[in-house]
Symmetry: C2
């Protein structure tokens, strides 16, 4: 029986590989080169839904592969709010994010001329996501009165504009609401999109249309070739709520919807897991992956402590590194202003850098120590040789490193140790000793 299964798997695999050989699109070949993967491997992972490529044909941008086997990617959120609505600032933030290495952007605007800003951000040329319910609520005036037709109309407009992926909180359904009532949480719901759907459901007693009309939604996504990011509207909003039921009910719903996407050839990400204690990160990541046929996992958080406001970028990075060890693929930047204020440009820069470091360490864990050694060798050799220019060239944020090193004037070593630099000392003593022996 086992042999039969194996042989079935093998022939499926061979069929797929044959198909890939017959004609792997050149976009896949280009992405595979960037990832350091074979084209066959990447094409196979895409076909199996383990990798997704957000690439709306109406939007001209660089294609990015996200998921199993690929390098860990970083998304950065920008967007207006009623308190701070400045399109110029948001574009500046988006550009800063790209220059710090963001792979994708999401526009989470809830105020101003939302379509106009969306099109500006789209023109920057990186894959971009949105959360259509935000615009639907703005146009409707409040969350309770958003009707299904308006929501689907907004979704269609975003697709037509060229948005590459859409966060849609399809798992926030009546069953999840019932779980929230039967097993209450301290923080209730902290997902803004989740809260909008919930408000409507509580008020009208009606099912979330994104859940009840999921088939129709898939038809739209299919028509425009847009990736769905299955939003985690029920993610816990504090450590205290991590083990409550609503989250798991949503995991199960998202798992079923993820399978429907796979069956209909719709690419998807899965979002998770919010605020959870560090020891719960591993099993949450593995559970989401298992329930979704190993779909690409897009991390919000994990925020592993609630008391470090002002440093939640560092907190999320710590959680992310552990999550990557268990299979997370895609990190949503958390900024220093998380839980406190809309980010400024400097918050975006700091948050994106720290998130990129977490992604790199994730890559090191996933690809193994030999990969890390090869990747990092040029910097290490430059450091050994006290060759500062090469160090700055090879560092992740070289100009930032240069500004720190340069502030105490030009020295061969650095102002930490000066002439007592261990590297210099050991090099000299071994050289001297070697000459004396000759």
């Amino acid at each position: 029986m086992q042999n039969n299964n194996l042989s079935h798997q093998m022939s499926l695999m061979h069929a797929l590989i044959r198909e890939c050989r017959a004609g792997i699109p050149k976009e896949v070949e280009a992405m595979a080169r960037k990832e350091g993967l074979s084209s066959n491997t990447l094409a196979h992972a895409i076909a199996m839904g383990k990798v997704s490529v957000p690439a709306n044909p109406r939007h001209c941008r660089s294609a990015v592969a996200i998921g199993e086997g690929c390098l860990v990617k970083v998304n950065v959120n920008i967007g207006t709010s009623a308190q701070r609505c400045d399109h110029v600032l948001e574009v500046e933030k988006a550009k800063a994010a790209i220059s710090c290495g963001a792979d994708t952007l999401m526009d989470l605007s809830t105020a101003g001329d939302i379509p106009s800003l969306r099109r500006q951000i789209l023109s920057l040329g990186v894959p971009m996501g949105t959360v259509p319910i935000y615009e639907a609520v703005r146009r409707s005036g409040n969350a309770v009165d958003v009707d299904a037709d308006l929501l689907f109309q907004v979704i269609r407009e975003h697709c037509k504009d060229g948005v590459d992926f859409l966060t849609l909180h399809c798992g926030v359904n009546l069953e999840a609401l019932e779980a929230l009532r039967s097993d209450p949480r301290l923080m209730g719901v902290v997902s803004r999109g989740g809260a909008f759907h919930l408000a409507r459901m509580v008020q009208n007693g009606e099912e979330n249309p994104l859940f009840s009309e999921f088939q129709y939604l898939l038809e739209i996504l299919d028509e425009y070739e847009v990736v769905i990011s299955l939003g985690d509207g029920m993610r816990p909003g504090c450590i205290h709520d991590a083990g409550r039921l609503a989250k798991s009910i949503e995991y199960l719903a998202i798992g079923r919807l993820s399978r429907q996407c796979l069956d209909h050839g719709i690419q998807r990400f899965i979002e998770g897991p919010g605020h959870i204690p560090l020891p719960q990160v591993g099993y949450n990541i593995r559970m989401i992956k298992e329930l979704t046929d190993q779909a690409p996992l897009y991390l919000l958080g994990p925020v592993v402590t609630d008391i470090a406001a002002g440093y939640d970028h560092v907190v999320a990075a710590m959680g992310s590194v552990v999550a990557c060890c268990h299979g997370a693929d895609f990190l949503c930047m958390v900024s220093p202003s998380e839980h406190l204020a809309l980010p400024r440009v400097d918050d975006i820069v700091e948050g994106t850098r720290v998130t990129r470091i977490a992604a790199h360490i994730g890559d090191c864990v996933k690809r193994g120590e030999a990969w890390q050694r090869t990747r990092e060798l040029p910097l290490v050799e430059a450091r050994r040789d006290l060759d500062w220019e090469s160090q700055f060239r090879e560092a992740m944020f070289g100009e930032h490193a240069r500004s720190i090193h340069g502030r105490d004037g030009a020295v061969e070593t650095c102002s930490m140790c000066g002439d007592l630099c261990a590297i210099k000392l050991v090099k000299e003593i071994f050289e001297k000793n070697h000459k004396q022996r000759e």
Copy 2:
């Protein structure tokens, strides 16, 4: 046989507990209260060498317990260098560290009037450590000419001044040097103290006196009741060197010396492990703990990537969190200027805060989820109630959080979501729905 062992252990335990009951010093009782431990548990851990308390009787300071079962502690290094020698600045850095929650300080000065600065830092009233070889090298003019008598004289002077713990690189011995030669490393030696001893050994072919005269050293430490921090002079200085032999040879030497400390009633810390890839953190920490009879472990790093200069505080914090999961007890602050320049006050603030967050997450892992929930509940309740003043009071760095929140003016929610705050929305909708049902 197993029963006999067990019964032997039991009677040893009972004897110790009886002894503790007969008279636990009130300092231990005070520390136990701060740690949330019973006095017996803490006294027993101290007696077994699993917890150390750096507390030179000649130095008036708050006693801090470091090791198994205790909250994770943070040390901050300050100190002059030839490039930047400003006593006023170093005292300012020390004060900044204390205000950010440093538990201990180390003065690593290598320039200026070292004894004078040491006494100034000692007067600040927290436990303090030094690295005597630095002053010995300064007085001798260079590392090669430091003689054993001078080194022991400096050690004695530091003890007399009231220094609470001394980093002494006793494991940098001829065997470790041979390992360095037979299994060379890209970065050689990056420990400054380690390099000084090595220079001397390479030049003169003589054993490190801290190793060959370890018994004499223990007599001095015993006389002054000073804790030894067994320095990891052979710690790898880059990811590439993590698996090379010198480190393990030093682990074994330090393990034997640690046992000698235990046999002579000398308290000790063990330092480790430097630059290592994330997947190697767990086994390194457990190996060091095993080889040293579970002595308190003082983390330098772990720096888990070499290419993020300017953000090594974040990199070390990521490594530290994983190290705490495996038993690390005491974190040495890494600043944003690590590998680049002597830290300024702002580097000390940033580095200490990020290290404190790592220590807190370490505590959450070690003490468990129920402990974390209780610890963090007041902030979560304040956040749920949109009670900002209470949030700032309960946050780790409340004034910093306040400055971010306040920059977009006074709002009930925050400028991220404004009136579309999920917390506010869900609260209102449930309240409204509840009233309608009544």
